[in-house]
Symmetry: C2
Subunit: 253 residues, 2 copies
């Protein structure tokens, strides 16, 4: 963690849990069908979830180094759960094994950005098409109310924006009904997260356009127009990456 932007981890755990529940479960709930999942939380998952949130809101910057003992101190656990959480992040591409056994957030590279963008467009288009095909009117109402809630919320911090943006997208993707693709999208967002750090929470100007795209997606879904929905989605994703264009002159590691 060479260049952290904040002294503390963002406190988005509760939001995250809510988003996580949108994940389409392939397996039936392990507990009683009606009751909540009541999943037993172990330290490993606790640490992972917090790190995941940290990544998604751009807490870490590309190129940052992570330190197991430091993280363990921060989470007040031993390094064992941290190690396992970190290993999972490596598997998901959010971290890489750097030379010298070091753990590093992948540094900014133009090729990486291009790769991520095309993967996001391809996979999220697929899942959006599936969502349009499967969405019930009730689903779309729920999606709309996420947007409504986002605009009504008054103290709109940039993290609030990020969170509600994430909530919209993942709710949409949950409707798609593909746990496999859903997982891949999570991995993509995890990899994209650190780039948010570069723009230091100064994305407000573009949020409006994002909201418009989201509305267009819902409207297209109501018409069953998958193509229009995908076009709006691609516009939304492209905007996210275009903001980064100014930073894309491959910074020296």
């Amino acid at each position: 963690m060479s260049q952290e932007s904040a002294a503390e981890f963002p406190e988005t755990s509760f939001e995250k849990a809510e988003i996580g529940s949108a994940r389409p479960d392939m397996e039936p709930a392990s507990g009683m069908p009606g009751l909540g999942p009541a999943r037993q939380v172990n330290l490993r998952e606790l640490v992972y979830d917090q790190l995941k949130d940290a990544f998604m809101v751009g807490y870490f910057a590309p190129g940052d180094y992570l330190n197991l003992r430091e993280l363990a101190d921060r989470f007040e656990t031993s390094i064992t759960p941290v190690r396992e959480a970190v290993r999972r992040l490596v598997a998901e591409g959010a971290l890489i094994d750097a030379p010298g056994r070091a753990l590093r957030v992948p540094p900014l590279r133009r090729a990486h950005l291009i790769d991520l963008r095309q993967a996001r467009i391809g996979i999220e288009s697929m899942i959006t098409e599936m969502a349009v095909a499967r969405a019930t009117p009730h689903d779309l109402d729920a999606l709309g109310s996420i947007l409504d809630g986002a605009v009504s919320k008054n103290p709109k911090t940039p993290i609030d924006e990020l969170t509600s943006n994430r909530k919209f997208h993942f709710s949409l993707y949950g409707i798609g009904g593909s746990p496999t693709l859903f997982r891949f999208v999570e991995s993509l967002w995890l990899q994209y997260g650190p780039f948010l750090n570069l723009i230091h929470y100064t994305i407000d100007p573009d949020i409006r356009g994002s909201h418009k795209d989201h509305r267009r997606i819902i409207a297209a879904a109501r018409d069953g127009d998958a193509l229009a929905a995908k076009q709006a989605l691609v516009a939304d994703i492209s905007r996210s990456f275009d903001i980064l264009d100014a930073y894309t002159q491959d910074s020296a590691d």
Copy 2:
């Protein structure tokens, strides 16, 4: 490991290493250009690679339970590296956390099969299209020689077939040049592997058709005909899954 099909792990490590090297690296080689990367191999990766191979050739069956201590004994390590390797497999969807802290190969479910199939078709089509756009004549010659080598090899065990099939596909996908999508495909194949166990290495009759599809992909790539390449690919993937149709009456867990 409730119902294992063999007493020992398949010895495909060397094949695997070769395939693994096809992964398109985003980072430049860390060492001297001419010299080998000399990457230090740790136990965690050793165990992971072997487990990965075991999954890919159908050593484990859907629904099997894994046991950390048993695996540690088998690999002659402590449970720590095994644990980390297993955790990675969980992250990749090859294993799931089952009730009671158990580790389980996902049981066969029709919905899962359908999901995997559409994800494979979608993502591998994308990457194939990219490969067709980027492939050099030399690349295509190399691909062709993989097929030639596969047919010439005389003692053709089913595992040989699987290995060369895998080699062809991943070489093709490596040409695509997308590390992100490449990783997703690996995850998909990892999830598909256990289904191979169900058909107990009796896939010979269909291998011929597979070879024909592979030839068609190469030919289409030579013509720059991405659509034709994708059609052949989809036919190939569909065949893989069609073989499983007979087993798809959702076995009781």
